[in-house]
């Protein structure tokens, strides 16, 4: 029996799974592009930038939808530490979805690198050119990318825990 938790709205579920694909692709593209000197490096970089901006737009849209539509509650019998972990990890995921593209964009701006998207569309610099700022943002982008992937693994593990072991309707609330 599945507890009647309710589900996320269709736009929320659609955005979740679309962004899941984008973000996972983005993280793999990111670590691949910085680990090769082959021509794929350039192709991956030219995917990384527009995909990052797409994720930023989707994340802002998603936050708006979330504020408007809310979320189904967690099961009443879920232990308090797990509820807290669920809540914190979701705040962290939202923060990373929005911060990572901005840090990347800011890092390129501070490094004086043009941000060119598909079709030669150029984005303006969002920070002044500054070497130390570039270095700080680069370090942050790298460290937060690893944190992002770790939190996603935790999120996947928790989702499967709800789906396979607790069978408490939490997974079904976001299932496609």
């Amino acid at each position: 029996m599945i507890a009647p938790l309710g589900r996320f709205t269709l736009p929320q579920r659609g955005l979740h799974w679309l962004m899941a694909a984008c973000i996972l692709a983005m993280l793999f593209i990111g670590v691949a592009m910085v680990s090769t000197v082959k021509p794929a490096h350039l192709e991956l970089v030219s995917l990384h930038k527009p995909l990052g901006i797409a994720i930023l737009i989707l994340a802002l849209l998603r936050m708006g939808v979330r504020l408007a539509s809310g979320a189904p509650g967690l099961p009443a019998d879920l232990p308090a530490p797990m509820k807290l972990a669920a809540s914190l990890s979701h705040y962290l995921l939202y923060a990373l979805m929005i911060a990572m593209p901005l840090i990347g964009w800011g890092m390129l701006s501070a490094g004086g690198t043009p941000v060119v998207l598909v079709g030669g569309v150029r984005l303006p610099a969002i920070l002044p050119q500054n070497g130390l700022l570039h270095a700080a943002l680069w370090s942050a982008h790298q460290a937060l990318a690893l944190l992002f992937f770790a939190v996603i693994l935790l999120h996947v593990a928790a989702a499967l825990f709800h789906a396979l072991i607790r069978r408490d309707g939490v997974f079904q609330s976001m299932a496609p």
Partner: protein, 351 residues
Amino acid sequence: MPNPLSPSSTFGSFVLIAAVVGGAASAFAYTAGWFSPNRLTPARFVAAFAPPGGPALGHRRNHAKGVCFTGFFEANGAGTPLSKATVFTRGRYPVVGRFNLGTPDPAVLDGTVRVRGIGVQIKTPDGQEWRSAMIDAPFFAVSTPRAFYALLIASGKKSDPSAMKDFAAAHPEIGNFGAWAKSAPFTESYAEERYNSLNSFVFTNAAGDDHVVRWSLIPAAQAVTVPAEDLNKRAPNFLEDEIAQRVAGGPQHWAMRVTVADPGDPTADPSKAWPVGRRTLEVGTLTADKVIAEPDGPCRDINYDPTILPTGIRTSDDPFPAARSAVYAVSFDRRTAEEGDYPPTAQEKQK
């Protein structure tokens, strides 16, 4: 819990969850190269440039010694049939450049370095820019980035006399470069050098036609050779001092010459010059009218990444620009983090 499971089924589920998470983490680690100690990563490339005592912190990991200049590129319009890039439409566009020496040592004696280079950043009013880093050699030492890495490793093994011999046997193309390095005269000025892109790029015109090209900067100044026995006797910074003095006395010019490949030319191999007689085109003039020392100069925080190109120019099948972009990025990330080791002197004076 609404739906308790049997203990064995719970165990199976935990195994499944561990497999999913472990599999994803492994795929990520593999993609990142953490399982591939032999993958040629940008970081390994950068490490190979470092002298035995480690890199000079705060400086570029190669071409570490240099001096900034500003000026302009004056396009004559002749390039527009080849490329729709704004930079080729008749007009004058600002340039921030850097004369430099091909060495990881920023304290090197100017006279001792074989390869001299120039970096240029040309900006157009539509927000586009073209960065190019060229050297005075007429062709590159080796055919591929991997061979270049092997060259750096071999030439770093000073105690192993066979390392370079083995390298040359495996990469015979280095012979041409060696002959150039031995015989080419050393000029007495950055202003007297011809600088070559070496790598090929693709120009696309307004009609969408592609042409594979290389480009060079041809100096207006007459070359004066420094006799080999005098090179080490020159002042440690004679090239920097000379160019500052010369430009203070009057702007210096180079014609930008574009060479168009014929079908079948070795566009992917910068160690091979294209046959003489290829179509060439002068597309404009580069002028340097101010020289500024690097610590406070406008070039110090520019990464002369040769893949930063305007619409109308793109990379070709030459594998080097991608490798250079990846490696320069690491050099740039490192040196910007080390700014304290190479502080701007103007800031120092204010303290």
